[in-house]
């Protein structure tokens, strides 16, 4: 059972406190300038409650939530709650925004792409077999009612974590006017500059052992990173990353290892970094076109 009580506070390297918890398969942390251990723990609990609420609400590994109801509806229309409806509106916007590259129905492709570090790249026939179950255009979305063909699935994993970071920050801002930072597995957002006016120094984990972590200064907004460090297939010298184009069903090869984007919100940063990866070799020109404040590592 996911539980907001699993929160602990430690001394941060800068001298203050850091609250930690685990959610969305990531280590999460909360930093608050000038807050003592007790206050940091209370704030961390607030953030953890919100992040875990979202995880429970939209996790595809549970059988008691709206995603389960949608994915097991067998072609029937499903009424969704307001937050999910807003998220589906957003998913629809992203689908249009990205010309179909960002698609919350693409999770079905995992059935043929194991991404276990092996060389089990699927055959075209295997991909062709699941492709008819992928594509937002096959979904009938008339808020608050969603209806899709049997076998199709939706999955908010692509931006759920970034959304949770933004939501957690919003909850923290209601609790304190002190500067705060929320970080879930490298996707993070801050409420403003640190109390001494300086920027938060954020290390970007390139997930490449041995290479130093570059740091980025952040005084407002958020940072999100997308990468494929651990999940890929390797066959015939070609690295097939865990970045799937929902239109072809194929992994996007030749793209960067890590893309980090800074934007006003973690959600927006996450969308841009994810889409940059989906643009493969054209990641940088995509980011330039979007006027994104981004860094790319190949």
């Amino acid at each position: 059972m996911l539980d907001a009580a699993n929160v602990h506070v430690a001394t941060a390297c800068g001298g203050g406190y850091v609250g930690r918890f685990l959610a969305m398969a990531s280590p999460c942390e909360v930093l608050c300038c000038d807050a003592g251990a007790e206050e940091t723990e209370a704030l961390t609990r607030v953030a953890a409650t919100e992040v875990l609420r979202i995880e429970q609400h939209w996790s595809r590994y549970r059988n008691d939530n709206v995603v389960y109801r949608i994915n097991t509806a067998g072609g029937a229309a499903v009424q969704v709650d307001e937050e999910t409806a807003r998220f589906l509106d957003y998913a629809q916007h992203l689908y249009q925004f990205s010309d179909g590259l960002f698609d919350v129905t693409s999770g079905v492709l995992r059935r043929v792409w194991p991404f276990d570090g092996s060389d089990r790249v699927p055959t075209q026939a295997a991909i062709d077999a699941v492709l008819p179950l992928v594509g937002w255009h096959r979904v009938r979305w008339r808020s608050p009612e969603l209806q899709m063909p049997p076998g199709m699935e939706i999955d908010f994993g692509g931006i759920g974590k970034e959304y949770a970071v933004d939501r957690a920050l919003k909850c923290l801002r209601e609790q304190t006017s002190k500067p705060v930072l929320v970080n879930c597995g490298g996707d993070l957002a801050v409420s403003g500059p640190r109390s001494d006016g300086s920027q938060w120094q954020v290390g970007i984990d390139l997930q490449q052992p041995g290479s130093p972590a570059p740091t980025v200064g952040l005084s407002s907004g958020a940072i999100a990173s997308s990468g494929d460090a651990h999940r890929f297939l390797l066959k015939g010298g070609i690295r097939y990353p865990h970045v799937l184009d929902p239109r072809s069903g194929w992994a996007v090869v030749g793209g960067p290892r890590t893309v980090t984007v800074r934007a006003a919100s973690c959600t927006e940063a996450g969308v841009l970094s994810t889409l940059a990866l989906l643009h493969g070799a054209n990641a940088e020109s995509f980011l330039r076109e979007q006027l994104a404040d981004a860094a790319v590592w190949w």
Binding site: E82, F87, D89, F97, V271, L272
Partner: protein, 447 residues
């Protein structure tokens, strides 16, 4: 939804993300509505002045239809119903005063001693309509054209306008300009009164006509040109600059020039002509210059705070060639106390100087020596405060409601008192305070 270029797309993404996160209200970048949707605003305003003065009920319906590709059609319909009484411009007197109806078409009315004379026959229904179309002429340019009209039983107004807005620097800067033209026809009951002519059949029994005014065709000597109407044209030019300062705030600066020529008088407003004792001898119709030029500058700053609240501050300065200078300071703070509800306290302070020709009353014979005179309190020096709050819902599926309750208090400063009658008039409350309550109920939905 056809998005024109990458910058538009990015802007729409930012807007959509803000909507998702519940902070969409403060940004200037709107996610474009898909083609074929109506965005409908309905509201009803109830306005009630104290002491049974003007009461108004005003339902409004406005619909914006998205044709896709940033093309919008807007239609708006307003219905105004006004009743109650409004000061006719005359000063109080120690004895009851009786005022005639125009040309005997409507009944007269009597004001008790020491009371401000109010014309209680004030009753009107106004219908106003606006049609507007805006469309892109380039990636960064938007053109808008509109026509509007309004009709009352004695007033008809027709207008047209054209506007152009151009975005610079990834839509962070918008420069806009607009030109509008309006033509009004005033057809008052009993005809247009002659300026400074005596109002007929008052109890002061002046009877001697309004002096040397050119009222040769005024057969029945009621001070009105029987059946005559008059016209006015108004031309407005506006220049605007909107600057997005950062993702959370914007600044706006507007300049406007308004030039009006033709009939400017209120055909139902009079001035008392008083003796040195301050008591009325007769009443004359007001007279204003036949042109008016106004210049105004407006500055506004709007900011999203805590991802939840919106602070909105504005200042407006207006000056015209009638001698009126006004300042308006407006403060509103929208507190999003829950995800879907807000409360917005609002304060406004307004102050204006009097028009050069504003007079509380004229001294006996003065009506023959001045060109212009008006006792309309709207041209007097006064301060006004508006305070209130609005509560409403935001970002709900289905529709959003709002309710606004405001109190208005106008505090005049007495000016334009004729020296010779100052002593005599000092026993009267020449410019009583005015207070009003306004309630607005609104509902907004997409269809």
């Amino acid at each position: 939804m056809q998005l024109n270029n990458a910058q538009d797309k990015r802007r729409a993404l930012t807007a959509a993300t803000l909507t998702l996160l519940g902070g969409g209200a403060a940004t200037t970048a709107h996610a474009e509505d898909p083609a074929g949707t109506w965005d409908i605003d309905t509201a009803v305003l109830v306005y009630s002045e104290s002491d049974s003065r003007v009461q108004a009920v005003e339902p409004v319906v406005k619909g914006t239809y998205s044709l896709g590709g940033r093309r919008y059609f807007t239609g708006k319909l307003v219905l105004d119903t006004l009743t109650g009484s409004s000061p006719n411009g005359a000063t109080p007197a120690s004895t009851p005063q009786t005022f005639s109806g125009a040309s005997g078409t409507t009944g007269g009315y009597t004001t008790p001693a020491y009371a401000t004379p109010l014309d209680d026959r004030f009753k009107d229904t106004r219908v106003a309509a606006v049609l507007d179309y805006s469309f892109p002429v380039s990636d960064n340019g938007t053109l808008g054209v509109g026509v509007n009209g309004s009709s009352e039983y004695d007033f008809l107004s027709l207008g047209a306008n054209v506007r152009y807005a151009h975005d610079f620097f990834q839509h962070n800067t918008t420069l806009s300009t607009g030109l509008s033209f309006e033509s009004d026809t005033i057809d008052p009951v009993g005809g247009v009164p002659f300026p400074l002519a005596e109002m007929a059949a008052s109890n002061s029994g002046g009877g001697g006509g309004g002096g040397d005014n050119e009222n040769e065709d005024d057969d029945d000597h009621d001070g009105r040109d029987d059946g005559a109407s008059d016209t006015k044209t108004v031309t407005d030019l506006m220049l605007g600059w909107t600057q997005v300062l950062d993702p959370y705030s914007l600044f706006q600066l507007n300049f406007s020039l308004s030039s009006s020529s033709g009939y400017q008088n209120d055909p139902y407003k009079v001035l008392s002509v008083v003796g040195s004792n301050g008591e009325p001898l007769r009443y004359v119709y007001e007279s204003r210059p036949d042109s008016r030029t106004k210049n105004a500058v407006y500055a506004r700053y709007k900011r999203l705070l805590f991802d939840r609240d919106i602070v909105d501050v504005s200042y407006r300065y207006m000056t015209d060639d009638w001698g009126i200078d006004s300042h308006t300071v407006d403060l509103a703070y929208r507190w999003g106390f829950s995800e879907h509800h807000y409360v917005e306290p609002h304060l406004r302070w307004y102050s204006q100087t009097a028009a050069d020709f504003y007079r509380v009353a004229l001294y006996d014979g003065e009506e023959n020596t001045v060109d212009y005179a008006s006792a309309d309190t709207r041209l007097a020096q006064f301060d006004a405060y508006t305070a209130g709050f609005k509560v409403g819902s935001a970002n709900r599926r289905g529709g959003d409601w709002s309710a606004r309750l405001e109190w208005y208090q106008q505090t005049p400063t007495v000016s334009g008192v004729p020296d010779q009658a100052a002593q005599g008039l000092s026993k009267f409350d020449l410019q009583p305070n005015l207070s009003a309550v306004m309630l607005t109920l609104g509902y907004h939905f997409k269809w």
